[in-house]
Symmetry: C2
Subunit: 108 residues, 2 copies
DNA sequence: CTTGACGCCTCGTTATACAAGGTATAACAA
DNA sequence: TTGTTATACCTTGTATAACGAGGCGTCAAG
């Protein structure tokens, strides 16, 4: 479960340039070294959510083979949001690690 | 929002020894260097959840001033779970960081 | 005698990840 | 021709979870 962090990694993946939903799934599988294998039922609604929030915008396009694709790109607002979310993640992950590591067993 | 990681840090906090709900909130505020200030409406249900899952167990106790407290302690199952969750967190945070950091801007 | 800290609790709202299912096209094999 | 697979999009429903808001009771300090 990525609860709450899915949006971040989607935005981050788009920082590398416009992409479409199906391709993002592969991108993230590759970027995460196989850790994330996101189902479509997770990704597509998330993209719609992000577009509704104006963090990304879409346009129809076509693959070399002629298949239709909805290409997504970061908006300016999305870039700003991504920057914030990256430092949020940095602080958050540090805090969690502190909590997890600080826990020395009870000195019985 | 700690989505999904709350249980982990609660279990981790209990690795240091038995504690009660209200105290855990302060522990985690301290451990996280102020980052986590968990509302009671978040912590108590989580503790009940963990107890239901037999990862922790509780008993009534009293503070030095005589106030009643429900003390929680890790079960053996809880220790095992915590170990797993710590490596889960390790892998997860690494994967997220990979996704966030790998994203180089589009070479326009 | 009221305020605030301690300490526990529950209920309702909201967000969201995901499974399950559906559509359509291209390429390739039987 | 007729699957079957990979590409590519979508929606609906369900389960979970964090948390705000509220309530209960005790004790100490003003």
């Amino acid at each position: 479960m990525l609860k709450g962090h899915l949006d971040n990694i989607l935005l981050a993946a788009l920082r590398a340039g416009p992409a479409h939903g199906y391709g993002l799934i592969e991108d993230l599988r590759r970027r995460s070294e196989g850790h994330f294998d996101l189902p479509e039922g997770t990704v597509y609604p998330a993209l719609h959510r992000l577009e509704l929030a104006r963090l990304i915008e879409s346009s129809w396009s076509h693959s070399p083979e002629g298949r239709r694709r909805r290409m997504y790109a970061l908006t300016r607002k999305g870039v700003t949001a991504l920057d914030e979310r990256q430092s949020d993640w940095s602080r958050f992950s540090k805090a969690v690690s502190l909590c997890l590591d600080d826990a020395e067993p009870c000195p019985s």
